[in-house]
Subunit: 279 residues, 2 copies
Amino acid sequence: MAKKPELDDFLVPFFDGGKKLKPFDLKSVDSSAKPLSRGSKEEDRTRLSEVGVLLDELQEKLHAQHRQRVLLVLQGMDTSGKDGTIRAVFHDVDPLGLRIVPFRAPSEREAAHDFLWRVHAQAPMAGELCVFNRSHYEDVLVPRVLKLIDDEECERRYRHIREFEALLADSGTAIVKCFLHISKDEQRQRLQARIDDPTKHWKFDVSDLEARKQWDDYQSAYSVALGATSTEYAPWYMIPGDSKTHRNLMIAELLLRTLQGLKLEFPPAKESLKGVKVE
Amino acid sequence: MAKKPELDDFLVPFFDGGKKLKPFDLKSVDSSAKPLSRGSKEEDRTRLSEVGVLLDELQEKLHAQHRQRVLLVLQGMDTSGKDGTIRAVFHDVDPLGLRIVPFRAPSEREAAHDFLWRVHAQAPMAGELCVFNRSHYEDVLVPRVLKLIDDEECERRYRHIREFEALLADSGTAIVKCFLHISKDEQRQRLQARIDDPTKHWKFDVSDLEARKQWDDYQSAYSVALGATSTEYAPWYMIPGDSKTHRNLMIAELLLRTLQGLKLEFPPAKESLKGVKVE
């Protein structure tokens, strides 16, 4: 009997200094897979609710403990579901302990710094759960596809990213990175749905369709970038994204496992408060 | 028949340049009142859920429109329910468009600036709904009660606050300020409950009981500060807070009215997208 697929089957193999015979390729991952499905959409939604409650409990301990930090990085092509993921996965998590950081095209001031400057400024602090909605990975994708940086600069950036994430990890940050993987046809349907609904027009512009024309270039750029930056301390996971329900569930389960791995506990009771009666 | 109490009965009278014969006094407000109650806790919770969904819809339009901003300021004594309010009122609001800003004791760097510097930096941007969990009002409360600033400096700060909030309002920010009003006995019970539950000890320290000893001084300082900074463009509302359910409902209703007043609509459809077929 075949082994039931699990989270780690979707882990991008760790960077090994470029010695791999077979580089990582997104094409090897089925965007319609549902490895963690419990059977039906209904059951997957029920499980997501359960996980949401557990995430909330763990996040409260993370906040109380005020020592460790958690960073979830979301990347993916347009319409791959980054916004929807945030909404669904964190529905039951207390907004007090959550910080969502969207990264858009850099401002003039941001672009006048190195590419990690604005990202470092937003790193989670003790007790925080941060979600990067897009991230520093944009800087090894768009400029690479548009040929604004050459291969050497790209390799330098991968190295800087690995070192930067190692710094965060060494300082007590648990990092999980998710690539939301959809098929080209799934994207077509989702973009068309937005165009057909005038209340969704604010979400994009005709020029957004340009990136779609370079679909294959972006898939290649992602394949190389993910392979060069998946590490033990900041692993990349492939999240099949054609099914929204399953995508949400998979990311929630991944985050749950990460938080459970931190062995979070409420700080010990304070001796100074023992037996105190409030007047 | 007596008029049914409504939100505006809990509005702190607007500052009129100090000409009032009778200054505003917190003592005039019943912390156990439930002016918006629908009858039972159950019914109030049902209504809160309805309002939550409406808030979420309006917040999406606010975000889509990317022009106006909303700022909710929460103040109150320890245990008055600021954290609980955020959790309950925003349960159904998409975390993408929400930013919670906690203000703690100023850092050395923050204290080296004027008291509004760090606050201004966190003002909501276009399309954002920001919640200040404590705020610049701390700077006219703690130092006043501890007599670190004299009356003259306090009056100057009130004026700076009025002018600062006028700047935000003139730039398209709808401001609502809520004072979570609990009785001294209600605070006693809530503090005691925290002390009796060791998993809640991280939330405070024995020294927090000091502020309670100065309860009356804080109530007076709040009365004066609220009276001096309630304005048409940034009104203060008294939120009776002994009932958590009703407190949540009242703040949600207030925010709902504020958002409804903005006449938010999705931006118009883009001509450039009309009839476009995605390939």
